[in-house]
């Protein structure tokens, strides 16, 4: 905690990492919107957007330009400051979660070891948890400041949904933490590196399958994705909390959802699927063969592949399962997932006790 003498190299290194992660997140989010429309199209026997550029690859740019040039409307009766603040809070909280995710192991650049994690506090998971719980402020502020009944209802729905599912999420995580014994995401990945089949059997999914299922369900709810997208239920609330938004502010809200999805996918892969661990390959011997840097890059690509898989899962589920009714949502959260997570925690504790005996 010595701030007096700032290590310029470290400072530059972290600054670059922050810039890279932020721009990568935004870039991937840009193309996730495109992928979502493509996947939706293919699952409904359509082609999806394919006119802008080859295979429609320029579609996200066209969408961005369209949003950028739309008229910027601020409702007369809205709370001006908070109305503008809402989308920025949503975007900011979505982006800062990426700070603790270990995006890779270590790169060696100009003779110094550069960790591919922006920050590795020993409370990594709790940080993710805190930021996720702050994410609801963007929705609430935006929804309330719009001075629109639909927006307000959507904001309240979003808030109660996120608070409810946070409990089950936290409890499923506690069971996982009992197994790992650490809250640092980097250490959790390191633990999963070891195991037979090149680390594959060391993944936490094999230790905590039920915990994973609960966690994944809660992640869907926290990201406001179908089947839990009640804050945006078109049939009841028109556009939900971004009803009154237009232009770039609307874009921020929509984008924040996709950034949230990416970061959540990264967290799920890190916690349960070994993060940047390459299955069937022993990283240490691979590093001897092809060099540490190449191994680290391969690991990062592996993490990206896992993220892409989970993004696909998000979309796949979205275009398969219809939306829950609100009381069903609350029932699932409080009466099913919460007791299930508690039971999972108890069983995990009992097994750990028995094994230590």
């Amino acid at each position: 905690m010595q701030f007096l003498s700032i290590d310029t190299g470290l400072f530059l290194e972290k600054l670059t990492m922050v810039a890279v992660v932020v721009f990568a997140l935004l870039g991937i989010a840009l193309y996730t919107t495109f992928a979502e429309r493509k996947v939706a199209g293919f699952m409904q026997d359509r082609y999806g957007p394919n006119r802008a550029g080859p295979f429609g690859l320029l579609q996200p740019l066209a969408d961005g330009v369209k949003l950028f040039f739309k008229e910027e409307l601020i409702p007369l009766a809205s709370n001006r400051v908070l109305f503008i603040l809402g989308p920025f809070v949503a975007m900011f909280t979505a982006l800062i979660t990426g700070a603790v995710v270990p995006w890779g192991s270590e790169l060696e650049v100009f003779g110094r070891k550069v960790s591919l994690t922006i920050a590795n506090p020993d409370i990594g998971i709790l940080y993710v948890f805190a930021v996720v719980s702050l994410g609801v402020f963007g929705i609430m502020i935006g929804g309330w400041a719009s001075n629109n009944k639909f927006s307000l209802l959507a904001a309240i729905r979003g808030a109660s949904q996120i608070i409810s599912y946070e409990l089950a999420m936290g409890l499923s995580l506690i069971a996982l933490l009992m197994v790992t014994g650490t809250m640092s995401l980097c250490d959790i990945v390191q633990q999963q590196m070891t195991g037979s089949w090149g680390g594959l059997l060391g993944w936490n999914i094999f230790v905590q399958p039920l915990g994973f299922l609960i966690f994944l369900t809660c992640v869907f709810a926290e990201c406001n994705r179908t089947p839990f997208d009640l804050p945006e239920a078109e049939s009841e609330l028109n556009m939900g909390y971004h009803q009154e938004y237009s232009s770039l502010k609307l874009g921020f809200f929509l984008f924040a959802e996709y950034v949230n999805m990416i970061v959540s996918s990264a967290v799920v892969s890190t916690l349960f699927f070994g993060g940047y661990d390459i299955p069937f390959v022993d990283e240490a011997s691979l590093a001897v063969q092809i060099g540490a840097n190449l191994t680290a890059i391969l690991g990062t690509l592996m993490l990206l592949a896992k993220i892409v898989f989970f993004l696909f899962l998000f979309m796949w589920i979205r275009w398969t399962i219809p939306r829950f009714r609100y009381d069903q949502l609350m029932q699932l959260g409080w009466k099913k997932l919460l007791p299930l997570a508690l039971a999972n925690m108890l069983i995990t504790g009992a097994v750990i006790l028995l094994m230590n005996r």
Binding site: D45, R46, Y47, T320
Partner: protein, 189 residues
Amino acid sequence: MVQPLTNRAKQVDAKPLSFLERLYIPSILRGMAITFRHMFQKKATVQYPEEKRPFSPVFRGLHVLNRDEEGRERCTACGLCAVACPAEAITMEAAERQKGEEHLYREEKYAAKYEINMLRCIFCGLCEEACPKDAIYLSETFAPANFTRKGFIYGKPDLLIPDPVGEPEAYAQAQGPNEGRQPSSARTS
């Protein structure tokens, strides 16, 4: 009990769900398998400007004002089509054929102005049936999109078929592939 028309009818039962069904996860997986299968199925989309949907031979599309084999307009501006039109989409103005215009118009009277409002038209084909001179028929194309309402009011230049004597290729193209149904070739002279 009602006799089922097909053998696809499913018996509905209100049995309480079994434990496996209440878990909901197997049904989610089944649903996901269905959507995944659809990703590889044939797409229903017709990629319009490049690829055109085949129309049936009796399709009623955009109107065409016909000429006879010498290239003279068949329409005599009798107004029967306008009377027959249930949407009141057709208006016309008649004029008398002058000396020296015999190669342009077949009869002594012709339509100086002939307009169809494609926004009103319901493409019922009653004008085609009403015409005693086989002058109007419905082709196998549809009205393309336009930016203004005015653009949908088709005048004589838009409707007239090309001259079969002067521009035979354009005439053949305007007649379309399903030539057999067209009154011009089927019922001439």
